[in-house]
């Protein structure tokens, strides 16, 4: 019981860290056609995430792997139910990854255009679909007692699901604009800052609508009403979102980005806490829901995996922080002149 609960929140944390880190990559990719006026701008945008995106994406692999290891039944039902959505996400991420590498390898505007389009699609589609998928998990998925999904891809595109998608896209775009504000200079920097400034009120409105809609479309608030102390998480998230604006106005871009990172983690945990103990609730009948208790691995596997995570995740965080620190500072013309740069 205790092990399962620990794993439930670790599971949520891994997804949250994935959204927090790869979120700004996906956001910059979404803003790419709009903010990248010249080839130079575009190169600065992709080089701003160049050294980091690959390591960020592994949080997704780890979140998926941990779902498989700790909650095999959730892994099997979640990914087969969300088959088409997940496949679209994966194809999009494939396109995004190769585009960074391929784009600069042939000096031809038409060649670059192809990969520019792939960077946008490969960033926007996952941002949207992750939001759609998680909002649908929050409100419940039509699965029966055998874990068989009764619906199609379009079942997921209901109003609340789409609202979740919109929220994720805005969160990531804002997150990306802030990262670009840190990493760029001059004109591009100005545009990144003003984009972040203009996105913020929209994001606030959508976040408020989402919080209200969650009252009617989901049962997330049940846990909060039962244990009101958890409302602190929502409060902290709102505070983090407000401080994004506060730091942005003071041109403290890194602090604003960090506040945005906390907002994303908070938004994920808003849902994760509300879900507990459900990992994959059924909308047909609550008894069919997959929970931390009825879908987990054996205690031995949970223990072994806990040791692995306790040993390795701090090390991973250590060398990722080192890498982030190594590549701090703005992307300069000199950076772009290197043969290895994207």
């Amino acid at each position: 019981m205790v092990l399962q609960t620990i794993w439930f929140f670790l599971w949520g944390l891994l997804w949250a860290v994935f959204f927090m880190t790869d979120g700004f990559d996906l956001g910059i990719g979404t803003l790419y056609p709009f903010l990248g006026k010249s080839d130079q701008d575009k190169r600065i945008m992709i080089n701003a995430l160049g050294p980091l995106w690959d390591g960020n994406e592994v949080w997704l692999i780890t979140a998926g792997g941990v779902t498989f290891a700790a909650f095999p039944r959730v892994y099997s039902v979640m990914f087969s139910s969300l088959y088409s959505a997940l496949m679209l996400i994966l194809f999009a991420l494939i396109l995004r990854g190769v585009s960074f590498e391929f784009r600069g390898k042939v000096d031809n505007p038409r060649w670059r255009k192809i990969w520019d389009a792939c960077i946008f699609i490969g960033s926007f589609a996952p941002a949207l679909l992750f939001g759609v998928a998680f909002a649908n998990i929050f409100q419940g998925i039509p699965i029966d007692h055998n874990g068989i999904y009764h619906g199609t891809l379009f079942t997921l595109l209901n109003p609340y699901g789409l609202l979740g998608g919109l929220l994720f896209v805005l969160l990531f775009m804002n997150h990306g604009a802030l990262w670009l504000s840190i990493k760029s200079k001059g004109d591009l920097h100005e545009r990144a800052v003003s984009t972040a400034g203009r996105l913020w009120p929209v994001l606030v409105c959508v976040a408020v609508v989402f919080l209200i809609a969650s009252k009617f479309s989901t049962r997330l608030y049940d846990n909060y009403i039962e244990h009101p102390a958890f409302f602190i998480v929502i409060l902290m998230t709102v505070l983090a979102l407000l401080s994004v604006r506060f730091f942005l106005a003071r041109k403290a871009y890194f602090k604003a980005w960090f506040a945005s990172a906390l907002t994303i983690v908070g938004a994920t945990f808003f849902g994760v806490i509300g879900l507990y103990p459900n990992l994959f609730p059924s909308s047909l009948n609550p008894r069919y829901s997959l929970t931390a208790n009825n879908a987990s691995s054996s205690p031995l596997t949970l223990k072994i995996m806990l040791i692995v995570v306790i040993l390795f995740i701090p090390v991973v965080i250590g060398y990722q922080v080192w890498a982030y620190n190594l590549f701090r500072g703005k992307v300069t013309e000199t950076d772009l002149s290197y043969e290895e740069a994207y």
């Binding site: 099997s76 290197y338 043969e339």
Partner: protein, 439 residues
């Protein structure tokens, strides 16, 4: 076609495509790290140019390897959900450990290596590449432990309607996993060695950058000769383990129908699955199979007929893939040993250079055949003796799998063409004349 067959085709497409890039990553990371270390130690600019030239090819390949790996991890859930639920307790944890303990390191540090030339000391930068090489090999360890468990499930019990872990050490340290790991990684090293030798041969034939490519060739040759022997020797040991743990796979590999002592190896045989015999057998070596897998020419080996028909793998594919792989393995030894004789006068051996240029695709073929033997030879089981492939598939509609299968083929096909075009283009262009703004 039904969901099972479609899902198998999709998984095969994804795996075989992924495995076009993985061996190159495994091997070339070591070679590039070695070249960079030579540069750090000697200060010789040629080694730096070598690091950059081979490193560039490495990175194009690396990108394709990484992105195609993601789909594999998720396909167990999307297409093989019953398998995932049944064995996730063991299999899932191995994949999760791979991501946490190995893939993170590889992916984080590759970014540091690409963008870190100016930010790190020479020594630290070379160390980063060694760590990338180490981490990618460590990834292979976990993936092959997971695959070995599908070939020979150990350390579990059936409880709560699924396979649950009882002995983790048994899973990690089983002989099947160790042998498979060394065999597969050796094959990967051979592939990258042949690539470097082949590309170097092209330039040596054109008499371009002779010093640069002679040195590259020799480094790869040393690597290639060691691991060509290793891959064949470990392949032989792998056969012994297969004979012990997977008798149906062994019988299919050798197209052995009748249980017999002094079991033969055929140089060539054409299995006729309908009539349960070989319609052609050429070069029969009596007792050879018994000797190879039991070290006793009189040992009795079970033939395919001693197993129920629904527990036999497809014989034709398994045996052809196996024979092709073995033939290629011996060719790699010959080609590299010949290279040792010619290594002092490579430029004056145009025929040998041409041979090595044309040999670039062969280790790729051998690697793909190797996976085919392993995976097709395990059929009809997804976990040998424990779960049938037909019981493992997700409860999804065939139309869904059709759609994604076509998408996979189109997407991977175009990425494959683009990727190999870029690798070939940069390989044929040769190294940059002077390393501008290096370090």
């Amino acid at each position: 076609m039904d969901v099972v067959l479609l899902s198998r085709l999709q998984f095969a497409t994804a795996t075989l495509f992924h495995f076009l890039f993985v061996p190159f990553t495994l091997g070339l990371s070591v070679l590039v790290a070695y070249m960079e270390t030579k540069y750090v130690k000697t200060g010789d600019e040629t080694y730096l140019r070598m690091t950059k030239f081979w490193g560039k090819l490495f990175l194009i390949n690396f990108a394709l390897g990484v992105v195609t790996g993601i789909t594999l991890e998720f396909q167990f859930g999307t297409n093989w959900s019953r398998y995932s639920a049944y064995v996730g307790d063991i299999f899932g944890s191995l994949l999760a450990i791979e991501a946490t303990a190995a893939f993170f390191l590889e992916s984080t540090l590759i970014g540091v290596w690409i963008f870190g030339w100016k930010k790190l000391s020479k020594k630290a930068h070379a160390t980063v590449m060694w760590l990338v090489a180490f981490a990618s090999t460590l990834s292979a360890v976990w993936i092959l432990i997971a695959n070995a468990w599908m070939q020979n499930p150990v350390g579990f019990t059936i409880r709560n309607g699924r396979a649950e872990l009882v002995d983790f050490a048994a899973v990690l340290f089983q002989k099947y996993a160790i042998v498979k790991f060394i065999h597969t990684v050796s094959a990967a090293y051979v592939l990258s060695a042949f690539f470097v030798m082949g590309v170097s041969a092209y330039h040596l034939l054109k008499k371009q950058n002779i010093d640069f490519f002679t040195r590259s060739f020799r480094i790869a040759l040393t690597f290639g000769v060691i691991f060509s022997f290793s891959v064949v020797i470990m392949g032989d040991l792998n056969g012994v383990v297969v004979a012990e743990k997977q008798p149906t796979k062994l019988a299919a590999m050798e197209s052995l129908w009748d249980t017999t002592t002094r079991a033969p190896v055929y140089l060539f045989s054409l299995p006729d699955e309908k009539n349960e015999r070989n319609s052609i057998e050429i070069g029969t070596m009596p007792g050879m199979l018994s000797f190879l897998v039991r070290h006793d020419i009189n040992a009795k080996i079970r033939g395919l007929k001693s197993f129920p028909k629904d527990e036999r793998p497809p014989v034709f594919i398994t045996s052809f893939a196996f024979k092709g792989m073995v033939g290629l393995g011996f060719y790699f030894i010959l080609a590299t040993v010949l290279g040792l004789l010619k290594r002092k006068r490579l430029v004056d051996s145009p025929k040998y250079l041409k041979l090595m240029l044309l040999s670039i695709p062969l280790p790729y073929l051998a690697c793909e055949l190797g996976w085919t033997v392993t995976e097709v030879g395990r059929q009809p089981w997804i976990v040998y003796g424990l779960m049938k492939t037909s019981d493992a598939v997700s409860p999804i509609a065939a139309s869904q799998v059709w759609t994604t299968l076509i998408a996979f083929i189109v997407l991977y096909g175009s990425l494959g063409v683009t990727g190999f075009y870029l690798i070939a283009k940069n390989a044929l262009k040769g190294p940059e004349p002077v390393v501008e703004n290096n370090r």
